[in-house]
């Protein structure tokens, strides 16, 4: 007789809550007919908060490290990343509520889709098996493809099509890599692969192909050069509230999973994958920064900036020790806070659903709305890594990790790319403060997104001055046990 396996669902509770609320909203929404947007928002937030509470409980989890047939990881890295992602989801819900409320057309499917994407992201950071990694990636991607198309602008549909075709294309590469890993190690468990490879029972060529193909798949999700082409188009075409959510969320989730894959599964091959990661990081930092210069649309600019930032984060990944992982996690927090703030400001400043996000619309913003201009300046300074913002601490952290691991040339490239970066962020600041307004746009004042922006701005400054508030927590989370 086969013994019934002991199933411990507790470490999966956050995902169950989020996905459960999503399904409930979907079904309930269909039954009620025309549910109030505010009720949907409140239910969404309630679900996210409940999931956060469940996730916080897991911080002191003392059960087995992996549950549900060793598919789900119950470690602190998962807890911390989940917290970040749930926060990002809450921001996305607040922004989306504002964005779709003013169109006058109720978009009730926005909330369930957002929650499904969040559940995919949180599942991704907690996966202990490449099968779960793949499923989680697909859950979040499929939800995002639709979210990107959720506006009536033609650009939105086009962005969705590009994201979908290239996303599916990259999924195939990812899957191919997964199959190679399975062939090389005989298992798809993240730690099992490491055991097989370090025991030299695995096959070297297959393992190398696996790590390469997986890197390509992840590289697409986090928009690393040369898999970055979709980023500016999709960031520009998607509704700004969705852009904010996906820019922050996808990076956090995919990079955390990448940490697990590179630092655990392929840890025995560290010296083999490092040159590839090195090249990808350098290319992203340099090209992302250079290409951003010629942009004339703020959302595209932030897209290129996101490419450069992916390079900076990869720089931190080169160091495989705990401090390196902590630096990367801190960078993810910093980037999420900043980019959520930046896109939020753009959403409020770009004049409603028509999305005037070209530079012309931002000329002289300081005169029309000093508050929004000030906020955007702060976020851009943080993206540029100018002290005392959180972006500076984050950059210092990842460059420090790279230097400690002996990769100072990469850190040097990063420093130079940041210098170029400061130039184009500064250009936007110049536009806002030192030029006369051209377009007659009325920036909106809105209570809910305004409060979210204030929170993001506060975190950008406070974490820049007192990063010690969260660094010890991140360091505790950075210890991977396997």
């Amino acid at each position: 007789m086969i013994p019934a396996p002991h199933l411990d669902f507790l470490p999966l509770l956050p995902e169950l809550i989020v996905a459960g609320v999503a399904v409930a909203l979907l079904v309930g929404g269909a039954l009620v007919g025309r549910p109030s947007q505010t009720v949907l928002l409140l239910l969404t937030l309630a679900g996210l908060i409940a999931a956060a509470a469940a996730s916080a409980y897991l911080w002191n989890w003392d059960g087995p490290g992996r549950v549900l047939g060793e598919m789900i990881q119950a470690d602190r890295l998962a807890v911390v990343s989940r917290m970040i992602l749930l926060g990002v989801g809450a921001f996305g819900a607040l922004y989306g509520h504002h964005y779709f409320a003013r169109t006058g057309v109720a978009r009730m499917e926005f909330y369930p889709l957002l929650l499904l994407a969040v559940s995919g992201m949180t599942l991704l950071v907690a996966s202990a098996d490449l099968i779960v990694v793949f499923l989680a990636l697909e859950i979040l991607s499929l939800a995002l493809y639709i979210l990107v198309a959720l506006s009536f602008r033609m650009a939105s549909a086009e962005a969705s099509m590009k994201y979908f075709l290239l996303g599916a294309f990259s999924s195939a590469f990812f899957l191919y890599g997964l199959a190679m890993a399975y062939g090389a190690a005989g298992t798809t468990k993240i730690d099992g692969i490491a055991l097989a490879l370090s025991g030299r029972t695995g096959s070297q060529p297959l393992a190398l192909a696996a790590v390469g193909l997986l890197l390509i798949g992840f590289g697409f999700k986090v928009s690393v050069v040369p898999f970055h082409m979709w980023t500016p188009d999709v960031y520009q075409g998607a509704p700004t509230s969705v852009t904010a959510f996906m820019a922050a969320g996808t990076k956090v989730a995919a990079f955390t999973a990448l940490i697990r894959v590179l630092d655990v599964s392929f840890q025995p091959l560290t010296w083999d994958w490092r040159p590839a990661v090195w090249a990808l990081a350098a290319a992203s930092m340099v090209l992302g920064s250079l290409l951003a210069i010629a942009q004339t649309d703020l959302k595209r600019l932030l897209g290129y900036s996101s490419i450069a930032h992916a390079g900076f984060i990869l720089t931190g990944l080169i160091a495989t020790d705990g401090a390196g992982i902590a630096a990367v996690t801190f960078y993810l927090v910093a980037y999420s806070v900043t980019v959520l703030g930046a896109f939020g400001t753009v959403m409020l400043a770009s004049g409603g659903i028509r999305e005037r996000t070209s530079f012309d619309s931002f000329r002289g913003l300081a005169g029309r709305s000093p508050m929004l201009a000030g906020l955007l300046t702060l976020f851009l300074l943080s993206l540029a890594g100018i002290p005392p913002t959180v972006g500076f601490i984050a950059k210092a952290g990842v460059f420090g990790s790279a230097i400690r691991a002996g990769f100072w040339p990469l850190a040097l490239i990063g420093v130079l790319a940041s210098v170029v970066g400061a130039f184009f962020y500064l250009r936007v600041i110049v536009l806002m403060y030192m030029e006369e307004p051209q377009a007659e746009l009325e920036p909106e004042g809105a209570a809910l997104p305004g409060a979210a922006l204030a929170l993001a701005a506060g975190l950008t400054l406070v974490l820049g001055v007192f990063p010690q508030i969260i660094l010890p927590v991140l360091e505790k989370a950075a210890i991977l046990r396997w």
Partner: protein, 623 residues
């Protein structure tokens, strides 16, 4: 009391925040508020320094640990403020001169539509400057360094409606950024080599552990930052243009404080510079070359503020010259004295512009002494102090440096420095005669400035007269003894002529220069207005500071243009100014790239596939 040091930067920061958010509502009170927080910061700074003086000399270094800033792995940086003689001197200068300039600005900026914004920026600048000099590690110093650059940028471009101001701001930011990048790399290198950025460890035992090559690289990279910030050759081109900013900004940032940050950096990091055999000589040569070059250029200027800007460059050159000889106390003495008399000169020039309806061309001035007696007196005192007429401040400061060159056996340097001193006296008495004496060469009535502007002038004049006391003594003077725990004493050899002979030569040169200036520009016997026509070559070379801007422009534009012609379709815009060219060059470069950003999903997939192939090849090489 020493632990209250955090209040000194915190007060201006609070002032900046209040003025930023409520500046409009405060109206006229914004200026008073900004000046009040500065005064409070100055008073606290005085008390702190008094407390420091009570300690025995060898214990005069107090670290106030505020909080742990970054602690990840072995990378630990605290927000630590260091009070030692060197930083004490700097905070007194910054808050003291800063307070006077804030008060002066209340009058000068009166009626400006962005009155509150101005004081917010000015206070923010002071905050970052204080962080720069109080920092106890290189990362915190870098925060201040980056911050003052940003504020300088905002303040130069404060009147951005004028295209020239916006361009000057951009030029300043980008030019100094070149140096800053070097400095950033230098700081990273310190961390690579020593694993810490803490002054106590880097400058103490750390510097000794460095190899010759590493020490040279670090020192020169840090010096690159100093060259950019302090407008030394070859990164000096931004400073004259920076005069587009409001005059109090020129006085505070581009004369008294920010530009001296480079000198402070060298003095602070002297242990690193001394660990290398070539670093200090390079500092010496760059300083001396700039001192001479800028002095000559100043003689060719007709814009009163540009003349003063070149003078600032020249004086900063003297400071680096002193530091390059290892005579840090001399550099610091000149820094302190220069802060007083150059602020005085700039503010007097501002008073002239305030009284004549923004006239800055000295050819259109002349004879202002009758209508603006107080301003004339102030400017003259400042000029004489700079010229090195005893017993004013500049005499002591400059004389110590020039004499030190002789007594330490650097004969050639001594001769060149003496020439520089002569030129300094010449270029600074020139505007006195051109602007304030002789006959009025323009229509219109000039009026004297209000007391809120002239009283700070008077106080600065007192400083310009009296600051020399700090250097008055046989054994190097009070300041040198005070600074000894921070920068050590310079090894002074007893070679060359005696002190009395050197002082005599120096005074004689200064008086001769004043006499020459009087003959050419004051006596009316030389038609100096016609010089540009009679000697176009000479006047052109001096007036454009030896065509350096044009040279840079050409150097940057030439390859950029050729490249642009290759890729862009007839994109022939005429751009002036070298920095715009750099920007344009990079922009052209990045315009090649969109060739593959076609917007077509299939070409994206193609680049994806090619990239994927490349990644697999890189990994395949590991087989």
């Amino acid at each position: 009391m020493l632990d209250l040091i955090w209040l000194v930067p915190a007060l201006p920061l609070a002032g900046a925040a209040i003025n930023l958010f409520f500046g409009k509502r405060l109206g006229k009170a914004a200026g008073a508020l900004a000046a009040a927080v500065m005064t409070a910061a100055f008073v606290i700074a005085v008390f702190v320094v008094a407390e420091l003086l009570k300690l025995p000399a060898e214990q005069r270094a107090h670290v106030r640990h505020l909080w742990e800033w970054i602690a990840s792995g072995s990378f630990r940086v605290g927000v630590d403020l260091l009070v030692d003689p060197l930083s004490a001197t700097m905070i007194l200068v910054v808050t003291g001169v800063g307070t006077l300039i804030h008060i002066y600005s209340i009058g000068y900026m009166d009626g400006d539509p962005r009155y509150g914004r101005f004081f917010s920026y000015l206070n923010l600048f002071v905050f970052f400057m204080l962080m720069l000099v109080l920092a106890q590690n290189y990362l915190l110093l870098y925060l201040g360094w980056e911050g003052v650059g940003l504020c300088s940028y905002l303040l130069i471009g404060f009147w951005y409606e004028r295209a020239s101001a916006a361009n000057a701001a951009k030029k300043a930011f980008i030019t100094t950024r070149i140096g800053d990048t070097g400095m950033m790399i230098g700081i990273a290198l310190i961390f690579v080599k020593l694993g810490t950025l803490d002054f106590g460890q880097v400058l103490g035992p750390g510097a000794g552990r460095l190899s010759e090559g590493a020490a040279t690289a670090i020192a020169l990279l840090l010096f690159a930052g100093a060259v950019g910030k302090s407008a030394q050759f070859p990164l000096h081109v931004w400073l004259p243009d920076a005069m587009e900013g409001p005059t109090p900004v020129s006085a505070l940032i581009h004369a008294a404080t920010m530009v001296t940050a480079g000198v402070y950096l060298v003095a602070r990091s002297h242990a690193l510079f001394e660990a290398s055999t070539v670093a200090l000589p390079i500092v010496l040569v760059v300083g001396l070359a700039t001192a001479l070059y800028a002095a000559l250029a100043s003689i060719g200027q007709f814009d009163i503020k540009r003349a003063l800007a070149y003078s600032t460059m020249s004086q900063l050159g003297f400071m680096f010259f002193a530091a390059g000889m290892g005579y840090y106390a001399g550099a610091m003495l000149l820094l302190v004295c220069h802060a007083f008399y150059k602020a005085l000169l700039f503010l007097s020039a501002g008073s002239v512009m305030h009284g004549t309806g923004d006239e800055a061309d000295m050819r259109n001035m002349g004879g202002l002494a009758r209508e603006m007696p107080a301003t004339t007196a102030a400017f003259t005192v400042g000029a004489l102090a700079l010229a090195g007429i005893p017993p004013l401040a500049g005499f002591f400061a400059k004389d110590h440096i020039v004499s030190f060159a002789a007594t330490s056996g650097r004969d050639l340097a001594w001769v060149l420095a003496s020439v520089g001193a002569f030129l300094s006296a010449l270029y600074i008495t020139r505007p006195v005669f051109m602007a304030f004496f002789g006959t009025r060469r323009a229509e219109g009535h000039a009026h004297e400035s209000p007391p809120v502007m002239t009283v700070p002038l008077a106080l600065l004049a007192v400083g310009a007269v009296g600051a020399g006391v700090l250097g008055l003594s046989v054994a190097g003077g009070f300041l040198a003894r005070f600074l000894e725990p921070s920068v050590g004493t310079a090894a002074e050899g007893a070679v060359g002529p005696s002190e009395a002979v050197l002082v005599g030569i120096s005074v004689a040169l200064a008086i001769l220069a004043v006499a020459v200036a009087w003959y050419v520009w004051g006596s009316g016997r030389v038609d100096w207005l016609g010089i540009p026509e009679r000697h176009p070559g000479l006047a052109g070379a001096l007036g454009t500071a030896f065509y350096i801007n044009a040279l840079y422009s050409w150097l940057v534009q030439f390859p950029g243009k050729g490249f642009g012609r290759l890729v862009a379709r007839g994109d022939e815009q005429v751009i002036d100014g070298m920095v715009n060219d750099v920007g344009a060059g990079v922009e052209r470069l990045s315009r090649v790239a969109p060739r593959w950003e076609t917007g077509r999903v299939r070409s994206y997939a193609l680049s994806f596939a090619v990239g994927a192939f490349a990644v697999l090849v890189v990994l395949g090489l590991r087989l």
